[in-house]
């Protein structure tokens, strides 16, 4: 076998309290797509940040083309031909594509004045356009990054790495923000790159796509490597078991839904985003008690704004929201909460918790003002602590004590605090937005179970998720949102991933429109 282009030997990386990488060995051969598969928190990204020079390993060696190399900075990694496309894009939104591409590697014109030399934007723009075209990556050099879609930004990131002479590309969860169809396009591009002699490390937690694209799969768990497989000689079940460390039931167990009366009726709802553009553009749907309505869609198609409008966090521009028969468009978050609505917010650390407060205070964050937690002006610490103890026990929150700061708990336990708080009240409607994002499988299973329990207890559940698998598994009906519009609402039993995926990409919508035009 030829010399591997990258070889990692016994890499360990410690963070306070966490062993993120534990003596990891890894090889990347020239011209292959090597997938790094593992759950959130398995240590994949940490390992790649070590390779990219962002973290310094505590132990272990890195060999590039057989030569031991210490990579102390991204600059060095780039010099060694390693480029990385991070999960959260490393692009400056207020700058143009050209500016972003040459950042750190600027080309100048005119007299050499050191740092004060003038940038040669025109030349770079020409070069990157040519480079992109070579691999079928269309980019617009003079566009500002904040005007681009996530798919376009990803292409810019790939060209950015290539422009810096990357021979090895590390892609961290590249499909997380893409529709299934966009992901297929990406795979074509990756194949073109490999055919041209590039080598690719593909980080993912999605079994199916890894089986589809990779030449080789390395599975990580709890910071260590569990094993290596070839796609042709393995299957989803084996990989899943390796990832999680036990047999995983890939299917969620749930009984038949018993839809009841309408709890939430949304009609022709219009909501603007922060830039005063229409983010939700005339959306209508209903949620009945005893059912789960899943909202599928690629991130950024108005889901965030929709949920914020439903929970009173964002003003509406038109339409109506009837909650238990009452108009709540433009109502305050408190009024909506008091109408028996639970809200599991998309960004749990930003919106759902006060990290500097103890678990006990977070468990009463939106009921603190009511008896028994307050009497008149004065808060009742005794009652708050008592409720906290009960909920910690009931929801299995792993915390040293009720007075521990929530910020010190793990992500899964933080989410449990939110779930405990929201589901400890009498609830008629549960709005759960990306409820399992970034959690480990154990916590995901737990949250799923609780949501189904809520449904079976008669509450309506609105589940917004960009994980298509999650939507498919939990929902009784599926509303697909694309560019601020609900393009269709499907019965979960009679649809499939492909159909939903096409709707998410807006393909079906366009076809429908075309048909309508032809008919009209």
């Amino acid at each position: 076998m030829a010399q591997p282009i990258i070889r990692l030997a016994g890499i360990s990386k410690n963070f306070p309290g966490v062993l993120a990488n534990d003596k990891v060995d890894f090889e990347l051969a020239q011209g292959e797509i090597h997938a790094l598969l593992g759950e959130n928190g398995a240590g994949k990204t940490t390992l790649m940040n070590v390779v990219y020079g962002l973290y310094k390993p505590d132990e272990g060696k890195i060999f590039i083309k057989g030569v031991e190399s210490e990579i102390e900075s991204p600059k060095q990694a780039l010099a060694l031909g390693i480029g990385m496309v991070h999960q959260h894009f490393m692009l400056v939104p207020v700058m143009t594509v050209t500016e972003n591409l040459m950042l750190g590697n600027e080309r100048t014109r005119g007299p050499n004045l050191g740092p004060l030399s003038t940038l040669n934007n025109q030349q770079v723009a020409k070069d990157i356009k040519a480079l992109g075209d070579q691999y079928g990556l269309t980019i617009h050099p003079n566009a500002y990054v904040h005007d681009l879609s996530v798919g376009e930004q990803q292409r810019v990131e790939i060209v950015k790495a290539l422009y810096r002479g990357a021979e090895v590309l590390i892609l961290d969860e590249p499909t997380a923000v893409l529709t299934p169809q966009e992901a297929d396009d990406l795979f074509v591009i990756l194949r073109t790159l490999v055919a041209d002699g590039k080598s690719i490390i593909f980080i993912s937690h999605k079994l199916r796509e890894v089986l589809k694209i990779a030449d080789r799969i390395t599975v990580m768990r709890d910071g260590g490597v569990v094993g290596e497989r070839e796609p042709s000689k393995t299957n989803e079940n084996e990989l899943a078991a390796m990832m999680v460390g036990r047999e995983v039931i890939l299917q969620v167990n749930k009984g038949e839904a018993k839809p009841d009366q309408i709890v939430l009726q949304v009609s022709d709802l219009k909501v603007d985003n922060d830039l005063d553009q229409a983010a939700v553009d005339g959306v209508s749907f209903e949620v009945r008690g005893g059912e789960i309505l899943g909202v599928a869609g690629v991130q950024g198609n108005g889901q965030t704004e929709l949920v914020e409008a439903l929970t009173g966090l964002r003003p509406t521009e038109g339409g109506s929201i009837l909650l238990l028969g009452q108009q709540v468009a433009g109502a305050t978050p408190r009024r909506i909460t008091e109408l028996s609505t639970a809200h599991i917010p998309e960004d749990r650390q930003q919106d759902g918790l006060v990290l500097a407060f103890p678990v006990s205070d977070n468990l009463v964050l939106n009921t603190y003002y009511k008896p028994p937690f307050s009497k008149g002006l004065v808060m009742q610490q005794g009652a708050i602590m008592k409720a906290a103890q009960e909920r910690i026990e009931k929801f299995d929150i792993r915390t040293p004590s009720a007075t521990t700061l929530v910020g010190t708990l793990s992500g899964g336990n933080q989410q449990k605090v939110i779930v405990a708080r929201e589901l400890s009240r009498e609830v008629k409607l549960v709005i759960a937005s990306q409820p399992t994002r970034g959690l480990d499988v154990g916590s995901i299973e737990y949250i799923h179970k609780r949501l189904i329990e809520s449904r079976d207890a008669g509450a309506g559940v609105l589940l917004v998720s960009s994980e298509l698998d999650e939507i498919m598994q939990l929902s009784d009906r599926i509303a697909v949102i694309y560019q601020g519009k609900v393009v269709d609402i499907l019965d979960a039993k009679s649809t499939n991933k492909r159909e939903v995926g096409l709707l998410m990409a807006g393909v079906a919508a366009k076809q429908k429109a075309a048909k309508k035009q032809a008919a009209g």
Partner: protein
């Protein structure tokens, strides 16, 4: 009463020795560096600081002076602390103090009322003045995202200019037949009673101490306090929890300003010559920020810190008299204390302290909304 002592003990036990070490060492280090400054200026730092100590604690008069000087520090420090806890940096306490004292002095010299009405009314007027002068920047922040650091500083200069005009030649507040810019003295009925015969110790000291308890109770025992602290710790989560964040921002600033205004009122009603002149309590605002941070933004800590700063201010005069070291060295010391308390890693490194630092989530962050809200 029993209940009270029990609570006091609880508060006391929350303050552990390890946490006290850092501020103490910060104070000592700041004094050592100041000694160096004194040495360079050609004086003897030992003599200077012993004169300072004598001036602050050496006699009954000295101790009274320390208490009187500590009073505005305590009140203004509490005001800054309330804002801090609500995630706001009220750097404009000085302007609020001016406005508060101006309104107190107007009420004090322009109406005649019985004592039990006049004094509370004058102080209340000062508090309302301070509350409004801080509340407007609070509203500008809540409604338009204007950062309070610059707006309150601008409000400082505006207050200064308007009041200087008002007590200047032909100004409406100018005392009749005087050659210096000052107002008339307030009537006897508005003055704070003297606690100790033949001394300057006035009842404002007690008001300030009472306020420390009130602020503690408000912040940690009531719904209002819970809301203020939630908004301060995470405004997004506060909105999610159904708290009216804009209203809270205005309220927090108003409470903060009211405390500063009260401090201004007490300075006017408690100390001879019972009037308002130019240069009234200049610089107190910035020093009080150091008091609040040194006191860990907690009423108990702030009470201790204000005693220290009061003692420094009280002793500085004797130091300047005896050793010719300008009293301004105190400001340098106070700046250094603030630096070392805020950058506690320096102190921990210098003295190899192993006690764990505060959880990062508990560190103050005021800079997040600099760009004008979000």
């Amino acid at each position: 009463m029993n209940n009270f002592f029990e609570r006091a003990r609880k508060v006391g036990s929350n303050v552990n020795l390890g946490q006290m070490a850092v501020p103490l060492l910060a104070i000592i280090t700041a004094m050592l560096i100041s000694s160096l400054v004194i040495l360079i200026s050609g004086a003897d730092p030992v003599k200077a600081f012993s004169a300072l100590a004598e001036g602050a604690l050496g006699s009954q008069v000295a101790i009274v002076e320390t208490l009187i000087k500590a009073t505005p520090f305590l009140l203004v420090g509490l005001g800054i602390a309330v804002a801090f806890r609500g995630g706001l940096f009220n750097i404009g306490v000085e302007g609020q103090l001016f406005v508060g004292s101006a309104i107190t002095v107007i009420i004090g010299y322009s109406v005649q009322l019985p004592f039990f009405l006049h004094l509370p009314l004058a102080l209340l007027g000062g508090m309302i003045g301070g509350a409004i002068w801080a509340g407007i920047p609070g509203w500008l922040k809540a409604r338009y995202g204007a950062h309070e650091v610059i707006t309150t500083i601008m409000f400082n200069y505006m207050a200064l200019r308007v009041i200087n005009w008002a007590i200047g030649t032909d100004g409406p507040m100018r005392a009749p037949r005087t050659t210096v810019p000052e107002t008339s003295a307030v009537f006897e009925s508005a003055r704070l009673p003297i606690l100790l015969a033949d001394s300057r110790l006035h009842a404002g000291v007690l008001i300030a101490i009472a306020m420390a308890f009130v602020v503690y109770w408000l912040l940690w025992k009531t719904k209002i306090g819970f809301e203020i602290r939630t908004v301060g710790a995470n405004p997004h989560a506060a909105r999610y929890a159904g708290i009216n964040v804009p209203f809270n921002t205005v309220l927090t600033m108003a409470i903060s300003g009211a405390l500063a205004g009260l401090a201004g009122g007490i300075q006017v009603l408690g100390l001879a010559p019972y009037n308002f002149t130019t240069g009234f309590n200049v610089g107190l605002g910035f020093d009080s920020i150091a008091v609040a941070v040194l006191g860990a933004i907690h009423p108990v800590g702030i009470a201790l810190a204000s005693l220290l700063f009061g003692a420094m201010d009280a002793g500085a005069r004797l130091m300047q008299l005896r050793t010719r070291v300008p009293a301004d060295v105190i400001t340098i010391t106070q700046g250094l204390i603030l630096a070392f308390v805020a950058a506690d890693q320096i102190i921990r490194g210098l003295y190899r302290i192993r006690v764990k630092a505060a959880h990062p989530e508990k560190k103050i962050s005021l800079s997040e909304t600099w760009g004008g809200g979000d």
